[in-house]
Symmetry: C2
Subunit: 404 residues, 2 copies
């Protein structure tokens, strides 16, 4: 027998042994999309660099226009030049106005932009029919982006707006966490006919989380071969995941293979369902995780154990799944002391959100993942939920609309 450990215990303990850190790689901005930032970037520039017009109009001194009204306009002298977007005007004197485009930089002496529609041009004179305040229609230096603004934090996922802000400060590249995983699928039955299809779930999950490379290899049920491959992988990859061979008893090839590598930390059995036979170990300061070869048990281990460990170890901030409250159409039972991962089909009917637990097919069923769209985590201290109870579920695909 082995003693099963609580998820939080595993996280707290294992984190102390994970001393390896993936390297940081500089890539062009667009290749960094949805990857994990390897650096904290502060703005070193001020945008706009000078006061900038946010309107098409005339750059003026606001103090010259303070008395302007429709019945008694202020009259200014229009300077010959005009300031285009991205250009900077020369000095503006008292009672002068310069034509300026949206995006043009104000000339020295000007502090506001009066919109075209509040003026009238007569020859080289400008009639201003409305008073204007200081900095009106002007974007001040640093308003768009200021010196020392944090553009991206190390551990954050790089999203489209980060790329835009990085380009705005003149960056063409950004450092991303070059985090590489090797996924092994064990099982002597995987020859031609049977495919270890859980590998696609694991590889896809890791890529969605921002991993830069995920290699997949199939190995036979042979402790020596598995151990040799793991020993090589912990020198080349940052995270190693083995699917299969975690059962207790005679078939725990993977556990035996890990033991041969003298792990600094080894834990076999976590209080999650499905997936309780999983193993978390640390070899060469990095994680070697053995999870079930069955797809749902594998998914449950990734979500409930691997994800929080990645977050703690590498200080990554993943965006959560959308949550929604839904009414259970059937009772959900869960074993006390276990964190349970329940698959659901969540749908909307006449404005009410319902959740149907998908239990058919047991823990191994890929069916429950493709027919479903959400999961419910039942914490260790609960035995489940009753039919009709409203629970908070996590959506991994959109709610089905049923308008019957």
């Amino acid at each position: 027998m082995f003693r099963l450990r609580a998820v939080n215990e595993v996280i707290e303990e294992s984190i102390r042994y994970l001393r390896h850190h993936p390297s940081v790689k500089r890539v062009s901005l667009i290749h960094a999309l949805n990857k994990i930032s390897g650096e904290t970037v502060y703005s070193a520039v001020m945008l706009p660099p000078f006061p900038k017009s946010t309107m098409d109009g005339y750059a003026v001194k606001s103090s010259n226009c303070s008395s302007a009204s429709p019945s008694s306009p202020v009259i200014l002298k229009i300077k010959k030049e005009s300031i285009l977007a991205g250009e900077k005007g020369n000095t503006l004197g008292e009672n002068e106005a310069i034509r300026i485009e949206t995006g043009g930089f104000l000339p020295e002496g000007a502090d506001a932009v009066i919109p075209v529609e509040d003026t009238e041009q007569r020859g080289n004179l400008l009639y201003v029919y409305k008073s204007i305040g200081k900095y009106e229609n002007v974007s001040l230096p640093g308003e768009e982006l200021d010196i020392n603004d944090i553009i991206i934090r190390k551990g954050d996922i790089l999203r489209p707006w980060h790329l835009a802000a990085l380009e705005a400060i003149g960056r063409e590249e950004v450092g991303i966490l070059d985090i590489k995983a090797c996924v092994f699928c064990t099982g002597s039955e995987f020859k031609e006919k049977f495919k270890p299809f859980t590998r696609k779930l694991v590889k896809g999950w890791l890529l969605e989380k921002g991993f830069t490379e995920v290699s997949v290899k199939v190995l036979p049920d042979d402790v020596d071969i598995i151990s040799k491959n793991l020993g090589k992988a912990v020198m080349e990859y940052d995270v190693i995941i083995v699917c299969g061979g975690t059962a207790k008893g005679e078939k725990d090839y993977t556990i035996k293979a890990i033991q041969k590598l003298n792990p600094s930390y080894l834990l076999h059995g976590v209080r999650i369902r499905p997936g309780r036979t999983m193993c978390f170990s640390v070899v060469n300061d990095r994680p070697v995780v053995a999870i079930s070869g069955l797809p749902v048990a594998a998914f449950s281990s990734l979500e409930l154990v691997v994800k929080p460990i990645l977050e703690r170890w590498l200080k990554i901030r993943f965006l959560e799944y959308p949550k929604i409250r839904a009414k259970l159409v059937r009772r959900v039972t869960s074993k006390m002391g276990f964190k349970s991962f329940i698959r659901l089909r969540v749908y909307e009917r006449k404005g009410q959100i319902y959740a149907e637990p998908l239990v058919a097919g047991g823990s191994g069923s890929i069916r429950s993942l493709v027919l479903g769209n959400a999961f419910l985590i039942v914490e260790e201290d609960l035995e489940g939920f009753d039919e009709g109870e409203e629970v908070e579920v996590e959506l991994y695909a959109p709610v089905y609309k049923e308008n019957l």
Copy 2:
């Protein structure tokens, strides 16, 4: 002046003119990750194909074991062979048992698997100490995946579990929507020093939505050049987006360029803020959308107008942003009749979720996007929300934790 139109009007109207459909391209499974499925795939196989053991034990006839108990065991004859994972046994006779591994297929005649721990082996005899029900510890054909199960729907985003299920039914490729966009940034000021950085936000947004290709080109403020480029793009790309040149009045180069192409549908001005000067048109049966060159106005147009149109036009089901209820720390005002897109910084302090509206820098500020993590949509019929009011916001990055 131009009449601004409501978002729903634009969607309902434009959809009728969008008669083009992007082609479907077959790609290997892993390249389909996070792309839009171009086909609905039904399972043509049953998994498992035969009754399969979910335990290490002995395949038996349940009827032979109905009287078994710890005090009066049933005695069965153990057949010589044993069934490994992925293999199928021969026929089982009356009062016989065959050793079977988890994942092994039951022999003809067997209908249950008795776990090793409920038995005792004495020579070639098996003592069974517990009765067992029909199909106990057996996964029946179709339980993991059944014939006609829908694995993926056309228009759904392909996720890791879909790839696993596709591999499980023997697929190596899947058809994805080969949806290609061309993004033009207009502005004569974009030479060396000033970069039209909004392009990164638009390109990243489209790639995150599952577009297969996004080309970006910078064009000067010249109606003929813009028009010529658009005319070429509508023959090569499925969606065309122009950033900039949408202002009303003399600077609407993009609008004029679109008009020269004789669009079947053209609408200039939508009741969203920011982004109200956007233009939605249909040329060669596909969308040519002109949005602001300012990053937040562009983002607002993409989220409030382009996204729902893509969903309706191509029947795509995007996963929504996570929603969370948060208490406003400042009043939010919005212009009646406009759908407003308010940027927020959402944080947790002492268990309470707060939302701080980010108004500094106006509509164009990339700052509000990188410092913030959420947005609030204020519908057309509302004037805003009061300080202290609880509102539902959409998160595009994780909630900040402030433990002060």
